[in-house]
Symmetry: D2
Amino acid sequence: MEGIKIVTIGGGSSYTPELIEGFIKRYPELPVRELWLVDIPEGRKKLEVVSALAKRMVEKAGVPIEIHTTLDRREALPGADFVTTQIRVGHLEARAKDERIPLKYGVIGQETNGPGGLFKGLRTIPVILEICRDIEELCPEAWFINFSNPAGMVTEAVLRYSGITKTIGLCNVPIGMHMAVAEMLEVEQSRIHIDFAGLNHMVFGLEVYLDGKAVMGEVLDKLASGPSMTMKNIVDVGWEKDFIKALNLLPCPYHRYYYQTEKMLEQEQQALQDKGTRAEVVQDLEKELFTLYSDESLAVKPKQLEERGGAFYSDAACNLINSIYNNKQDIQVVNVRNNGAISSLPADSAVEVSCIITNEGPKPIAMGGMPVAVSGLVQQIKSFERLAAEAAVTGSYHTALLAMAINPLVSSDSTAKQILDEMLEAHKEYLPQFEKSYAG
Amino acid sequence: MEGIKIVTIGGGSSYTPELIEGFIKRYPELPVRELWLVDIPEGRKKLEVVSALAKRMVEKAGVPIEIHTTLDRREALPGADFVTTQIRVGHLEARAKDERIPLKYGVIGQETNGPGGLFKGLRTIPVILEICRDIEELCPEAWFINFSNPAGMVTEAVLRYSGITKTIGLCNVPIGMHMAVAEMLEVEQSRIHIDFAGLNHMVFGLEVYLDGKAVMGEVLDKLASGPSMTMKNIVDVGWEKDFIKALNLLPCPYHRYYYQTEKMLEQEQQALQDKGTRAEVVQDLEKELFTLYSDESLAVKPKQLEERGGAFYSDAACNLINSIYNNKQDIQVVNVRNNGAISSLPADSAVEVSCIITNEGPKPIAMGGMPVAVSGLVQQIKSFERLAAEAAVTGSYHTALLAMAINPLVSSDSTAKQILDEMLEAHKEYLPQFEKSYAG
Amino acid sequence: MEGIKIVTIGGGSSYTPELIEGFIKRYPELPVRELWLVDIPEGRKKLEVVSALAKRMVEKAGVPIEIHTTLDRREALPGADFVTTQIRVGHLEARAKDERIPLKYGVIGQETNGPGGLFKGLRTIPVILEICRDIEELCPEAWFINFSNPAGMVTEAVLRYSGITKTIGLCNVPIGMHMAVAEMLEVEQSRIHIDFAGLNHMVFGLEVYLDGKAVMGEVLDKLASGPSMTMKNIVDVGWEKDFIKALNLLPCPYHRYYYQTEKMLEQEQQALQDKGTRAEVVQDLEKELFTLYSDESLAVKPKQLEERGGAFYSDAACNLINSIYNNKQDIQVVNVRNNGAISSLPADSAVEVSCIITNEGPKPIAMGGMPVAVSGLVQQIKSFERLAAEAAVTGSYHTALLAMAINPLVSSDSTAKQILDEMLEAHKEYLPQFEKSYAG
Amino acid sequence: MEGIKIVTIGGGSSYTPELIEGFIKRYPELPVRELWLVDIPEGRKKLEVVSALAKRMVEKAGVPIEIHTTLDRREALPGADFVTTQIRVGHLEARAKDERIPLKYGVIGQETNGPGGLFKGLRTIPVILEICRDIEELCPEAWFINFSNPAGMVTEAVLRYSGITKTIGLCNVPIGMHMAVAEMLEVEQSRIHIDFAGLNHMVFGLEVYLDGKAVMGEVLDKLASGPSMTMKNIVDVGWEKDFIKALNLLPCPYHRYYYQTEKMLEQEQQALQDKGTRAEVVQDLEKELFTLYSDESLAVKPKQLEERGGAFYSDAACNLINSIYNNKQDIQVVNVRNNGAISSLPADSAVEVSCIITNEGPKPIAMGGMPVAVSGLVQQIKSFERLAAEAAVTGSYHTALLAMAINPLVSSDSTAKQILDEMLEAHKEYLPQFEKSYAG
């Protein structure tokens, strides 16, 4: 059949309009025939709002993309060319717990590579693996593109515990860093190239090029002096100038959690008092967005969506799908099987690295080993991800504890156990695999 | 200054008209301001013929490329953006010895990865390293692009024994394989993509894609059945069908020497009787070409040049220069520092691998390890190249003997010594570094 | 129960008296309570002769070792502490074919790492893996010590295709090299230490020490000058002095096949004419030995046994068992899982390397990577072993062909196929796993 | 000359009597002919006290060991068989600063792998490298055995920045763990074997064997339940039982600093208030010891010496020297060049690993990679050691800052800078290499 079939699981997400906009914008070269928005029964209402908006957007744009909705993903999957997932098991309520509980023990929750991320992974990975089994059965040729966080841990789990090899984890951090660097240097984005290597939310720019010339020194000077690059959802506490110069790498915004732990903790504690957790802030934003989406006169993506931390996520997804479909052979930074690209990390692990995107999929560029100064931290997060993925699959209490205890944000074995126990209890509805081991 | 300055060492080569044609064809996007053709005093006459033709070609095409000639490369180098080398130390006479002497001992000479290649390397590498020193001094920002054979060994030597990192070794084999596969499948070249990995003249296609779908099985069926893919300069002795299916990799034409040694040896011995060595055949071709070039009415590249084994070499060079200059980010197969791209080979060695070509240079794509069935042979040739490069620099008789003895074409330590001794004597004019150790 | 239980599969072998002698000699520290000699029904007669001799030997020595015999290994295995195997699937008749058929095609048969070894492996590995399954079931705590050739390939197969981890492959080559070096230097064996690394019958001495001082240079001088070190079963064709000096490693006797291929081939062809294959020579020796063994007055190991190529094999086995049982922590050279000891070979492959022998088993000593000059050849033999083991298990014709074609002794794909086809036919009685793929 | 010559640099140390006792005890098999005690001029008085005691000890024991003293190490070195170093640049006063200053910023000083260790390394490494240069010149055949802390960092520096390869770093931690495990299990030490792998003060028992059987589970049960194993100088804060079971590795006492950071920090802050830093406690102990040593009636090592954290250090040194001299081939745990023994760490780095000790030196046993759960932390400390060693040699402020900032005990880039700046100032007398970069 002509055209592309895309299935978006978690289609009722507030991010979906960005995705729709992305497909509309690219329609001339990326002919999406069908877009299936799939959600779970309890998300029915959001799905209705979002899909109605999607239909209005498509109609207004005048492109022949069919919007389908279903609460049964097995109905949607057959014949899919691309399956994307943007799910949030346990909703923002769960995220709020991921952030609040660790803070009680003086530990940053950090919803991807911290204790919060561990629990997000424990909840999300089993669901993702079920989706993978359906894909293997119903559309084995499809590309599986995940942008549910923690994207690195999820990609690790898919590579280790499913039969799917055509899988890509997506993140908007590298694209954000690229944009920020271009802005700092006051040049067009296309003149900048950055060699990225690391893990999801633990990625470094190894070198920055302007028109092919290495300009890391200049970029770091600016980063350390002026207001430093960050994400919408991460407070900028400033970098120690000498440290940044010594590091001689471009850190990602999330590195603040590891290199400025104290300050970030203070900020989070202050913010919690002032306005609740980030999850709670986002809940308010979500409500606002859905009120907007419900307005039947709205037929474009509203500006407010860009206020979310996840801005450009869906655009990145469209870009990726476009490059695969059209064999663009451009460079994008995604989470894939390492295959030796970062020689200091296991070849069979997921890494976040600059890839060339072809119609055979992303091919990672060989970066050598991570620089000495960061190879330990990166390995530690990779170990955390691996143990977390294993715990999510096996439901082993000890493996989960080990993941928690080796996380760089957790500084004591007994604190690790306390946080783990309280969070297991708090999330038990979404963690059936821990039923037995928890009792033990 | 506007435009690009290119210095071509060995500019009096018969291949030069292809280079000129390449620059003319690409002028709109690749504005070559100056092309310096450099040669040694004894090549003065050829240089005059070739540069005169070059000037006529440029004039006829109406592009403002200045053609300069000099017998002193230090005059040419300052300010160069690209330096290319296409030198032949000892001329075709030396190549004839490289081929004839091993055959006396029942061994294929093989001018790149065989005993002949060892001696070509021993003669060529010291000259290349002198050129490198001049580049480091006079135009340290230039890209150094070598297409003198043995290109893998030369690149290994430049990486290990010079201070130059912006170096690329070029080969026309992968481009020829790509074209041949497209022809076999009767599709346009642009629809085919091949993942290449290995060493110079020891490169494998790991997978072949047609429109993004893996089609290795189909390609190998065709390769094993019909007339098999080869180079102008390599006899096609046919592949054993079951072997090719078992291998499940696309071999390069030079693999015949290692997987069909007996037949290739017979062919070479027969050919020697019939028409002399390949070198001698080429000498006649060369004479013809220079007669053509001298014709003042000629102002285009003559068709006959394409009969040479090195066809498309210069075109490949122009392509590469163009992609670097214009940051094309296309995939080309070149010889570069491995950097982990092929995980079963040392990170600091030269490999031939699919790279994305940017304005920061080629970035190799991570291919994982060489497949089990070929990893030994590839490592053996890499060891041969390393020892040969070391011997070329140190003039160590023992290291040269070791290189000769471990070459897969040489099956006995005593034969290795006999060939080595006779070749050292035959080439002594071009091997001053062996003066002492040879006496010993 | 007090004392050790040992099960020897292939107990009717002519080597068994050496094993008995070894256990008698070591009885005071190695109290063997029961020794079970197991053989197959068609070996019943040999088993009777050998076990009768064994009983006479034990009685004469006055040690309380019980000798049991059985034709059903499952009767013998329960409670075993050590299981040793010395089997020869297809008997010497099969070995004769392993040697004769390749020679018809101008290729050395080489019963371990050559075409002959491939077929020995194809016959032997399935039987060994059945034994492994019985061990896993009946005596999972036992050490499994194999000295059936090709010992490297068999160990690779056990590591990859059985659940047994307590497995060791044994070889008498390193011990023979050690003895020969001591003899060359005219010193006691205990003053010599050699760092061994490589594969079975492809092992190198990386350094030789006399009283802790490196003496490789001196040893190689002697090796290259006088009569060179070899095995009873390998002709000494002499080493090229300069090659050996250049190599700067101690080669094993089997390296002649790869570094002196032509001369070895001539020798084998001559020997075939003169006295038949080595297998046929051994058949005569065997007959002689069994005539001796049948003599009821004989109650010691006869001297003639030492004429076999496998001399010291059984002694090496007793030594190994003794060191494990008594936690001797001495250094022995055995075939075990690499575990990074030789960094240029896969961590999960079998290697032959100096190990410290403890009561937890052998622990390999870290040797770094194989030296550049030999890493290719060693990798090629490892690849050959891996493919051969895979073919033995899967019965894949293509995998067997690939193993044959990449063997360094085989120089052509079509020759590989011819030898393979003739040998598959000749051995089909012992290769049920190839029934189908052969037909294809 | 008969007998062994040993040179002990830092001979005036209070540990020396243990060394003397060790040599006396082993005299029959380890005939020390001359022991040279070397110190710096300001240590003259201590040297006199210690050497006088040494002479009384030797005389009383009736062994012919000559005790020499000198303030010029170049007088002592010629002809040495072993050179040992036990130096403390800046004395206990400096150590007190190493501990006090970080505590001001809420960071544990930790005198080996913490901020304190960084400064100990910056002071010590340049002195050690000068000693190395003298050894290379005056006794190039000698073994250089260092037990100055931080021993891992110092060994890394010697391997990277000196020409000495015969170097070993010594630590008493593994021997203490071995003793403690034997005590826990109530068995003789000789029945226990532990596979050790990691770094100095960051070493893990990968498996514990009792009579060859793996007993890690039992050992960890005991470790987590009863009073846990520790050093004299490290407070026992107890392990979280579930964590230890989850880890499934035997941690070393120093791991408390990383897995129980908060509690250890509290303890240190409390202890500081109660009795000053550990350095200050040790200063008092030292005074006491020297008072004892000065007693001319004392001719044996006083019991009180065993109260020091460094107990068994000198005994370990004697053991090591004995095993090298007598080619004991026993297993000891020392700091040496990795050489692939721990495959997840660089081959050319220093690691602490079980080695077999021969007269050619220690040969590390291949352990595979560090387990997933700890590979990140171990790599981080290795990176810290490498950067610290580099900073010690180059005097680079940025490199020192990077080392400080990536240390797992330091949680903020700005705190890292504050501690670094205050410590550079406090120690400036001993850090001439930082003169310039500090000013900058």
